[in-house]
Subunit: 268 residues, 3 copies
């Protein structure tokens, strides 16, 4: 078995055994799905956004996942308190800049959050990563207008600028930290027909980062598990409604053999 498959499986086992508490400040569309995906993987999800309690909650959690999908003033206030607190406590912070590039508000809030407390890991599609890196990519809603490959330079720039790991998800996923690069070619195009699959990937990264302090590795392993569970789900039935539930089942039933048989991970 390749060493990576073994390491991924070790992390999955740790998540299942420790059930790390993952604090999510995320969007209304995906709260249910990402909570279920975290549970299926073995983690313990919590969705907590109120400014009155996010700092206290960040202190009992093992990772913080911030997602701006349906942001508004209340949620932004919560993010601005939770992120510095999680950072101060050494908890991994994962940021998902949904739709950045689409509106001035999303650009401003993303910039403010990054400046206030740099995330350890950023995950977005190619358009979002390019927009966040200041390349003035126009984002059309939440779907990428670019292939993930086209955003590698932007990801590297972003990684160096903020000293963090950057994940570009797409047909191929690229994970970048400084000069390190991993490529995951797992997953299936039908996953783009289910809302919030990207947000789910970000949440799973949170679970892996809670048990693996090498965040480049954590992000890479999470993307691999995400893609493999997606493949297993599509194999059951290639249709988007069924995919949602088969994805959760696959995540829950995932074995070392599944990872070993399907992993398509290379380091550049």
């Amino acid at each position: 078995m390749p060493q990576s498959a073994e390491s991924i499986w070790a992390n999955v086992t740790q998540i299942r055994n420790q059930a790390p508490l993952i604090h999510n400040i995320t969007n209304f569309v995906v709260m249910n799905n990402t909570a279920n995906a975290l549970l299926a993987l073995g983690a313990s999800p919590a969705m907590v956004h109120a400014p009155e309690e996010v700092e206290e909650f960040a202190s009992i959690s093992s990772a913080l996942v911030v997602n701006i999908g349906t942001l508004d003033a209340t949620f932004v206030s919560g993010m601005k308190l939770a992120m510095p607190q999680a950072k101060a406590l050494g908890k991994p912070v994962i940021f998902d800049p949904v739709g950045v590039g689409a509106t001035t508000y999303r650009n401003q809030i993303s910039e403010e959050l990054l400046t206030l407390a740099t995330p350890d890991i950023i995950r977005g599609n190619a358009s979002e990563i390019m927009a966040l890196a200041g390349l003035n990519s126009q984002t059309k809603g939440v779907d990428s207008q670019h292939s993930s490959y086209a955003a590698i330079a932007a990801a590297r720039r972003l990684s160096l600028m903020w000293n963090c790991t950057v994940v570009i998800s797409g047909a191929s996923d690229y994970i970048v930290r400084g000069n390190q690069q991993a490529t995951v070619k797992n997953g299936h195009p039908l996953m783009t027909k289910v809302t919030g699959m990207g947000c789910t990937a970000t949440a799973l990264i949170g679970a892996f980062a809670a048990v693996n302090s090498d965040y480049f590795q954590a992000a890479t392993y999470a993307m691999a598990v995400m893609g493999i569970a997606g493949e297993l789900a599509v194999q059951k039935k290639p249709a988007p409604g069924s995919l949602q539930l088969n994805f959760l089942d696959a995540l829950y039933q995932l074995t070392e053999t599944d990872i070993d048989a399907r992993l398509n991970l290379t380091y550049a």
Copy 2:
């Protein structure tokens, strides 16, 4: 093949090819389902409600869908900015007055929104359409207390009052614009046992209106596709949990033959 089935299929194909961006300001209960239904149909959904960005977002979208299901002050502020902006830019605006008639607040907000920016299409159940037309129908929660047929006069009145297309959904769906009337007898009663099927219909109308500027036609075609996908789903398994996912699968896998074989559309 009847001409209507061919036209509906042409619209479905356009949606699949163009993936129009549909801007939704909708309720918390159905955000996930309507996003997934829009994706399964071939459109690109976005849920964006913050007053800080809805105008900018309306300008990059192909249609605006406003739904008051779980309205509150923040969402209402967003609706009041987005609707006039979408209208000013000539984008179709679709309005779903969930629960109007149940509370004074819903009545007031609906009236304010209609006055501020008349929607091109309004979809509701019989009680909601009657309440909105000022017929003082008591709405009990979100479920209709009247058959859709009983609301046709109210729909006509509403259509003339606001110069828009009005859809009454129910066992039979009636689509009314001035003196024009279409009747769609597709769908299945079990669809009332899944939350948000009405809201999903409204979202699909948004997708059809994005590719068909005859909004009476767009609304009619959307209701037909909604009903046909529902029938296909119930045929798979007549139970409400399964219906949810089979509906998404059916929408994604919908063929011209399905429409041709099942369409029950008449013009009065």
Copy 3:
């Protein structure tokens, strides 16, 4: 047939016939699931939280369910208006203190709500019930750190303190009112791998309380139906994605025979 099974079935039949309107002020994660569970059971759900309308809405509903899962200032304002109004009108009020014990804010709000308008029924996991009874249990997120049995004394204390029925859900569910106690040993551990199953139980209690004014009985019967539907769902497929939809199907298709064959209810 044991008398209890017959009584439970009588209540299910009443819910199906009367379709009582259940007013929920609940969290973003579970709104969709709990609405669908109430529909599958036969009730009519509504999710309404705006301070501008909750009092009016409480007056047309048959029960009020309040859940603090993703609470924030807007939702708390709605809760503080709806609860006293529902109480004043003699409507059953059911309270779900999600995550109480995890943060000071949750503790304070829970205390304020209980003081303002004592719920008729409180449902939580063991950690939540112990925290609410002032036993200083540390809650880790939303998952219990204690067995439900360990919380019986806390439940009794809480019941006497607030003169209400208290439900501890877990591997065994305990329903306590003063010196009365019922134990339900239905359900399956896999239900803990689906988000919001506890919240769904609370919502179903609302439906039973709407047709059965003996709230101790109503809570007990709801927990039994919840557990039995869960068992039937797991039997179909032991995986968490499938469980979600099979649970809804089971609830919708539930028969008197299912209850009779599976009910594991004892009174202590």
